[in-house]
């Protein structure tokens, strides 16, 4: 066991490789080590998922409390630290109720689809130069496709519950996610154009001279904002939470879910928030790249003191806090306002932005031109 841990540390050489690459290299000579790497990555991602869910739910409750002049959970553990653990245990112990007329198989499948899509995205996110499970040359396409796959879980869950509120919620969710997917993808395409690659690692490495959000004279900022709005809508968070609008649809698509299955939907919702934050920081804020300014060597060296993982963590926490700030400030949109925002405002802006971005790329008109 020690030997394997030591070899994982040693294998993190220069240039850093993903866990999948290391496993591929080790496969012909040492299949056991390759299996250990992949197994470790799987267990690691699942553990990370669970812990992240606990932390995010606790953070959400505490931060929302502070926004609303409340204290939030205070009883279980110091400052309510163990509250989410207690809630999770309660959810696990609850009776799993399935409606009599529900489609049993689909009702069971839906939460797994929803959570599965999220886990699959977590695999390709570059957490730090050393910690990256798998990289693929079509990373952005993969992420877009998989997050579209998550809608299937929501639609199936609403459909199979045999409940009108659940069905309405699922249909709203479908309409919303499919609409906003277009804007999100257009915003991602801008970064793909800049970086000239779809691989997430490639995109991070292309931002060594400066992050894409400000390297392209405002184009990056516009696509950052468009992506943030569109992805907030995609993960069904307020102000775009009409699929589960409590005042209108009881709980929306998961109205008929309880116990473990509900907790899967709930977990997927929170992990999706992390995924959006991770992708935003990877694509627009340089992922694990430290904050560098042109040729200010001393400044850049100070910034390098924090390792890549720390930078990634800071950026992701910032975006997550921003999403929570949105949630506890803005009121929910109506369905027609939602559609108007996407089709009449975000989509034209996205297209124009893409056009401008292509000119920026064509004439190599970047700030901090750097290597590319």
């Amino acid at each position: 066991m020690h030997e394997i841990a030591l070899r994982i540390l040693l294998a993190a050489g220069d240039p850093p490789k993903t866990i999948a690459e290391r496993a591929t290299e080790a496969l012909p000579t040492d299949p056991l080590f390759a299996i250990a790497l992949i197994g470790g990555a799987m267990v690691g991602v699942l553990t990370f998922l669970t812990l992240l869910g606990l932390v995010l739910i606790y953070a959400e409750r505490k931060i929302s409390a502070r926004f609303q002049c409340r204290l939030g959970p205070m009883r279980v553990g110091p400052h309510g630290l163990l509250q989410t653990v207690a809630d999770t245990l309660k959810l696990l112990c609850k009776e799993d109720i399935v409606p009599t007329r529900a489609d049993q198989a689909m009702h069971l499948l839906a939460p797994f689809l929803s959570l599965g899509a999220t886990v699959l995205v977590l695999l390709v996110v570059p957490y730090s130069p050393l910690l990256h499970v798998a990289d693929m040359n079509i990373g952005v396409l993969y992420v877009t496709a998989i997050s579209g796959f998550g809608v299937m879980g929501i639609l199936l869950g609403g459909w199979s519950s045999n409940n009108k509120w659940a069905l309405l919620g699922a249909m709203r969710s479908g309409a919303q996610i499919i609409s906003y997917e277009i804007s999100a993808t257009l915003a991602l395409l801008v970064v793909v154009l800049f970086a000239g690659t779809m691989s997430l690692r490639g995109i991070v490495e292309s931002q060594e001279a400066g992050w894409w959000i400000w390297r392209a004279h405002g184009v990056g900022i516009v696509s950052f904002i468009v992506y943030l709005i569109a992805s907030t809508a995609e993960i069904n968070r307020t102000p775009f939470d009409i699929p589960e609008g409590e005042s209108e649809l009881t709980a929306g698509f998961h109205a008929e879910y309880s116990g473990l299955r509900f907790s899967f939907f709930f977990l997927a919702e929170f992990i999706n928030m992390f995924v959006v934050a991770a992708l935003t920081s990877t694509l627009f804020l340089g992922g694990w790249m430290p904050f560098h300014v042109g040729n200010f060597t001393a400044f850049n060296q100070v910034m390098d003191l924090l390792p890549g993982g720390g930078w990634f963590f800071l950026k992701v926490s910032g975006i997550i806090f921003l999403l929570m700030w949105f949630r506890w400030t803005f009121p929910r949109l109506r369905v027609d306002q939602l559609m108007r925002l996407e089709w009449k405002i975000l989509l034209p802006i996205g297209f124009v932005n893409l056009l401008v971005a292509s000119f920026v790329v064509l004439y190599n008109f970047y700030l901090f031109p750097g290597n590319n």
Binding site: I63, A65, R66, F67, Q68, C69, R70, L71, M74, W325, F326, W328, T329, F330, I345, I349
Partner: protein
């Protein structure tokens, strides 16, 4: 609503169903053009976000109380309404003169004011002020209706009892010595005794109404003999 100019509201007459009715004409909401609405949307969103961030950064605005722990240092908002109380004047007499304005103002008949003819003055005076907390909605209508400021809403909220009948209070119950006994005391002691605040119940509130005088305990069918033994 900043898009509506309310100073431009005009009164007009309109004929509705054959009748002439006065109508207020409010100007329509100014519609912004397509390009102006994006920055104005961001402006208004930022306004809201600034406000919530102000609350986030100011923990002093937190209103939640950690109740059982801070029971000793509990502070109530000025207008907190828990239990109805009768005000006393400087001599310790109740200021209520039995005018029954509160009884008439009470929306659900939670107040019964019993009056009697005063033995000396011959005027109406308060005999018993009965307040039914079990039906009271704490709407404050009685306090607002009182012409002589004789009522107030107190802050005693721990009123849970196991017997509903214990929620019927006689607010002017004087649990101290009777008037003729007070009269025999010397000046200083008398002032003290008279000014002493007395609640509707003196001492701890009994649970399940068991030990309270004049109130029969609830007797459940199975417990009949056991309860009678205690009494």
């Amino acid at each position: 609503m900043s898009n509506v100019d309310f100073t431009d509201v005009r009164l007009s007459q309109q004929s509705i169903a054959g009748q002439t009715v006065p109508v207020a004409l409010v100007p329509r909401i100014r519609t912004q053009n397509y390009f102006a609405q994006v920055p104005s949307a961001f402006k208004s969103l930022w306004k809201g976000m600034k406000l919530t961030m102000w609350y986030f950064l100011h923990p002093s605005t937190i209103v939640t109380k950690q109740y059982p722990e801070n029971r000793a240092t509990l502070k109530f908002p000025e207008r907190y309404r828990a239990n109805l109380q009768l005000n006393q004047d400087d001599n310790g007499y109740y200021m209520c003169n039995g005018c029954k304005a509160c009884e008439r103002a009470c929306p659900n008949a939670s107040i019964i004011v019993k009056t009697r003819k005063g033995a000396v003055t011959g005027k109406n005076e308060l005999d018993a002020y009965v307040w039914r907390m079990d039906s009271c909605t704490f709407c404050n209508a009685c306090v607002m209706a009182c012409p002589s400021d004789a009522l107030r809403m107190g802050h005693e909220f721990e009123c849970a009892v196991y017997d509903r009948r214990l929620l019927i209070y006689t607010l002017n119950r004087h649990a101290g010595p009777t008037g003729d006994q007070v009269a025999k005391l010397d000046e200083e002691t008398r002032k003290q005794v008279v000014l002493e605040k007395r609640g509707p119940y003196d001492g701890p509130v009994p649970l399940a109404g068991e030990a309270y005088p004049n109130i029969r305990p609830i007797v459940l069918p199975g417990q009949a003999t056991e309860q009678e033994d205690k009494v």
